[in-house]
C-alpha cells in the first residue's frame, strides 16, 4: 500500500496543470467589448444608493413615513441615530474601479471609441462613489490608482490622509468635465452613463457643495480645522454657478431631449407613471434597471402593496406620515392643513373617503395611496372605525372585523386597517404609491417587480437649477423652473419671482422628491437636520401649523384616520370624518445630533491609519 501511495503522483503531474475554465485572464477579459461590458456591469451593480427599491425602508426614513412591520417599530421608539449610521468606506470597490481603468488602458484589442466610452463609464462610477462618500463621511482619501502592498512589514506608504470636503466635490466636478465628451448623448441610454447622467451628477454635486459652503456657517460646530468637513463660505457662489450651468445644459437640450414626463392626461397617474413607465420615458436620466425573469428583480411592491387583495399575505409597510401628506399644496398653490374641522372645531363630513384630499397637488395621489383611491383596480379599504352620533367609536382589532352596532351587524374596521400595532395595515391611514408596480404578479414572490429605480431625473435637474438660481440672486429664473414642475402637478397659480424663498425651495424638493433618497442629504447640506429632528415630541394640536416651513419639526410620524359616521335616519349618515392620531407604536422622538452630520469613521480604520482625523462631535 505504501509504494502505491508514493507512486501515484509523479507520472501524470501535468494532469493537474490545466487552464482554469472559470477564470478569464486579463488579456481575455479586456480583449473583447462584450467581456469588458460584463466587467463593467459588475461595477455598475455595486453602485451605492442611499435609498433603493431593493430595501423599502431605506426610502422612507426620517419620519416621512411609519413602517408597518412588527420587527421595525423600534425605529420609532428610540431617540435618534448612531454616529456610525450611514457610513461607507468601501475602498475595495474603489480599488477594483482603479484596476479596471488601468487594465483597460493597457488593452490593445479594443476599438478606441469603445475603449474611451468604457473608461469614461469607469470614471463616472468612481466619481459617483466618491460623491457618495463625501456626502456621508466628508473628505476622504482620494485614491486614483491601485496600490499594492510590498510585504516589507511597513505599510505606512499606503496610508493617505483625508482630503478636504471641497477637494472631493472638486474631483467629482472635474471628472464630470473630463469624461463628458466620451459618453453618448442619448436619452434612451438610461442604465449606463450618458452625457445627461454626468451633467446631472455634476449639477447635484456642485449644488450640494454650494449649500454646504453657504449654510455650513450656521453650524460652526460641524467643521474641522483642516477642512475635511466644511467648505469656506466664499466658495458658495462658484459652486452654485457651476450647478446652474450644468443643469441648464440638460434643460436646454444640449445632451439629448430630456423633458418632464407628461404622457397621461390624469395628472396623478401621470406622476406615478414616471416611476414605472419604462418605454420612451423622457424624464429618467440615469436609473438602476431591473428585468423580469432575469434574476434582477426586486420586491418593493410585495413589501408595500395594499394589504387588502394583496398577491401575498403581506404588504403595506410604508405608511406615509401626515406631515408629508398635508405638505402637498392645494391646486391654487396654497399651504393648507387638510380640512377635517370647521372653524368651531366640529368635524367636516365627507361623502367619500377621499373627499378630504380633493383639490390637492396631483403629486399627492401620485405619491400616496389615500383612503378611497385604488391600486390595480381595487379600492383600498381604509377606515378606522364607526363613529356614532353620541361620539362613541366602535372599532376592531382584526382586519375587516364585523361587530354589532346598534343592532346591525356591520364591518367596523377596514380590511386595510388602520389598526394600531397590526403590521401591514395602513397604520397612518396611508400607503405609498411611488414605485408600486401596477403589473399583475408584481406582488408575488415568484414574479416580483422590474420597476426601475431612478437615480437622476429631469424634475430634480429643474429643482437643482431653481435652487442654484435662487442662491445666485436670480429668483425669476428659479420661479420659471419651479413653475414647470408645479404645473405638471396641476398647480394653477404660478409663482412669481417675489415668492421664491429658501422655504419654498425646501418645500418643493420635499414633496416632489419624497421617497427618492434625497431628503436626507437635503437636510444635511442645509444644516437643518438638527432643527427638523430636534428630539422634541410632536402633538396633534400643532402638527398642522407652519406647513411649508423649512425647519418644521418632523420627529415622529403621525396619521390621519377616517371614521365612518353612523347615524341611521339622522344627519350625515354614511359620511366620513377624520382624526389626527399618533400610531401608538411611536413612542420615541428622533434627535439628529451634530455628530450625525458626518458618519463616524470606524475605530479599525483609525487604528490602521493614524493620518485619518475623526469627524466632528464624535
Amino acid at each position: 500500500m505504501i509504494p502505491f501511495l508514493l507512486g501515484s503522483c509523479s507520472s501524470d503531474s501535468e494532469f493537474l496543470d490545466r487552464e482554469p475554465s472559470n477564470i478569464l485572464t486579463q488579456d481575455q477579459a479586456f480583449g473583447s467589448p462584450d467581456i469588458v461590458l460584463s466587467v463593467l456591469a459588475n461595477l455598475y451593480n455595486r453602485y451605492y444608493d442611499f435609498g433603493t427599491v431593493e430595501d423599502w425602508s431605506s426610502l422612507a426614513q426620517f419620519n416621512v413615513a411609519f413602517w408597518s412591520e412588527a420587527g421595525r417599530y423600534g425605529y420609532f421608539q428610540n431617540g435618534g441615530y448612531g454616529y456610525g449610521d450611514w457610513g461607507t468606506w468601501d475602498y475595495g470597490y474603489i480599488r477594483e474601479m482603479n484596476l479596471f481603468l488601468e487594465r483597460l488602458e493597457l488593452s490593445e484589442a479594443l476599438d478606441p471609441a469603445d475603449k474611451a466610452r468604457f473608461a469614461a463609464e469607469g470614471r463616472f462610477l468612481r466619481a459617483s462613489y466618491y460623491f457618495t462618500m463625501v456626502k456621508r463621511m466628508g473628505g476622504v482619501p482620494l485614491i486614483l490608482e491601485s496600490e499594492t502592498y510590498d510585504f516589507s512589514g511597513d505599510a505606512t506608504y499606503l496610508q493617505h490622509p483625508r482630503e478636504t470636503e471641497s477637494a472631493l466635490y472638486d474631483f467629482v466636478i472635474s471628472e464630470a468635465d473630463a469624461i463628458l465628451a466620451d459618453l453618448p448623448s442619448d436619452v434612451n441610454t438610461k442604465s449606463r452613463a450618458s452625457k445627461g447622467a454626468v451633467l446631472a451628477m455634476k449639477a447635484r454635486a456642485a449644488l450640494y457643495a454650494g449649500s454646504i459652503a453657504r449654510y455650513g456657517a450656521s453650524t460652526p460646530q460641524v467643521s474641522l480645522p483642516g477642512g475635511e468637513v466644511g467648505i469656506p463660505a466664499s466658495r458658495a457662489e462658484g459652486y452654485y454657478t457651476t450647478a446652474l450651468s450644468a443643469a441648464q445644459s440638460i434643460i436646454n437640450g444640449e445632451v439629448g431631449n430630456y423633458s418632464l414626463y407628461e404622457k397621461k392626461p390624469e395628472l396623478s397617474e401621470n406622476f406615478a407613471s414616471i416611476f414605472y413607465d419604462k418605454s420612451n420615458n423622457p424624464e429618467a436620466i440615469f436609473v438602476e434597471d431591473y428585468k423580469l425573469q432575469s434574476g434582477k428583480v426586486h420586491g418593493f411592491t410585495i413589501a408595500n402593496q395594499p394589504r387588502f387583495g394583496a398577491e401575498e399575505e403581506e404588504g403595506g409597510r410604508i405608511n406615509p406620515a401626515l406631515s408629508l401628506v398635508q405638505s402637498f399644496e392645494t391646486l391654487d398653490g396654497e399651504y393648507a392643513p387638510l380640512p377635517i374641522e370647521d372653524g368651531s372645531g366640529n368635524p367636516i363630513y365627507y361623502d367619500t373617503p377621499e373627499g378630504v384630499f380633493a383639490n390637492r397637488d396631483a403629486r399627492l395621489m401620485g405619491t400616496v395611496i389615500v383612503p378611497g383611491s385604488s391600486f390595480k383596480g381595487r379600492e383600498v379599504d381604509i377606515f378606522a372605525g364607526i363613529q356614532l352620533a353620541d361620539g362613541t367609536v366602535i372599532s376592531g382589532d382584526s382586519r375587516g372585523q364585523q361587530k354589532d352596532v346598534m343592532g346591525t351587524d356591520m364591518k367596523v374596521v377596514g380590511f386595510d386597517g388602520p389598526i394600531d400595532g397590526l403590521e401591514f395595515t395602513a397604520q397612518t391611514g396611508f400607503y405609498i404609491r411611488k414605485y408600486q408596480d401596477p403589473k399583475a404578479g408584481s406582488g408575488q414572490r415568484g414574479t416580483q417587480s422590474d420597476v426601475w429605480f431612478i437615480r437622476y431625473r429631469y424634475a430634480e435637474v429643474l429643482l437643482n437649477a431653481a435652487e442654484a438660481a435662487y442662491e445666485l440672486g436670480q429668483p425669476a429664473v428659479a420661479a420659471g423652473y419651479l413653475n414647470q414642475v408645479r404645473g405638471r402637478a396641476g398647480i394653477t397659480t404660478d409663482l412669481a419671482a417675489a415668492d421664491i424663498t429658501f422655504d419654498r425651495i425646501v418645500h418643493e424638493r420635499f414633496v416632489e422628491l419624497a421617497f427618492e433618497g434625497l431628503h436626507f442629504f437635503d437636510l444635511k447640506r442645509w444644516r437643518i437636520a438638527h432643527e427638523v429632528l430636534d428630539g422634541t415630541p410632536m402633538d396633534a394640536a400643532t402638527i398642522t401649523d407652519n406647513i411649508g416651513d423649512a425647519t418644521k419639526r418632523l420627529t415622529q410620524p403621525f396619521g390621519l384616520w377616517p371614521y365612518k359616521y353612523y347615524n341611521p335616519g339622522g344627519a350625515n349618515d354614511g359620511t366620513y370624518i377624520y382624526k389626527i392620531v399618533k400610531p401608538n407604536r411611536v413612542t420615541g422622538a428622533d434627535r439628529f445630533q451634530f455628530g450625525n452630520y458626518y458618519s463616524e469613521i470606524g475605530a479599525g480604520i483609525l487604528n490602521n491609519n493614524p493620518l485619518i482625523v475623526r469627524n466632528p462631535n464624535q
Binding site: G79, P220, Q221, G535, F594, L606, P616
Partner: protein, 229 residues
Amino acid sequence: MKISNYICLFAVALLFASCEIDNYEEPESFFTGQIVYNGEPIEVGAREVRFQLFQPGFGNLGPLDMHLDLDGSFSGRFFDGDYKLKFINGQGPFKAYEVNEQQGDTIFISLRGNTEMDIEVLPYYMLSNESFSTGATAVDASANFEQIITDADARNIDFARLYLNDTEQVSNNGDYHMVWTDMTVGTGTLSGSTGIPDDYNKPYIFARIGVKIAGVEDMLFSPVQKLDL
C-alpha cells in the same frame, strides 16, 4: 491500560491545557470621578456626554469612551498605564480648560491602582437654589442661574424646560421623560410648572430642570429631585 482510558486522559488533559496561554489579566484599576466646576458637580443628560481616553503605545489609536452619569460622575475599569484624557469638542454644556498651549485641553493621567479624580471644567452656566414643590396636578419649580463664561464665547439660553419622569433617570432625550413644559427665563431666574399626567398613579415623581444653551447640543441640568405626591 485500555484505549478508552487514554482517550479519557487525553480529554482531561485538553481541558486543562487550553486555558493558560492566550488570556489577558482582566483590567484591575477603577478610574472614577466627577466633572466639576469649583468643586460643584455639573449635571448632564442621560447617556449624552462622554469623554475619551487614549492609551498611546499599543498600536491601537482608537479611544476608550467614558460616558458621564446624570450627576456628572464617571466610572470605568482600566489597565494600569498612562492615558490621555480628551473632551470631545462641542460635547457637554461646558468647555475644557486649556492645560497649556502645547498640550491644549488634553489631560495626562496615570492610572496605578484605583484612582479617583475630579475634573474641573468651565461651564457656560451654573444652576443654583433649585426648588421644587408639588401641587395637586402640577410640579412647580424655580432656580437661579449664573452665566460663567462671559467673554467672547458667551452664549445665550435657548430655552429652559422642566422635565418629569417616573424614574430617577430624567433627561431631555430618548424616553427619559414623560412630560415637559417650557420655563420662563428671567434675569438670572427660571420658573415654571409642569402638569402631572392624568393617569399617573405612583406615590412619587422625579423632576429636573434642563437648560439649553444656544449652539450647544447637550443641555445643562439641575440635580434630579424626588417628590412625594
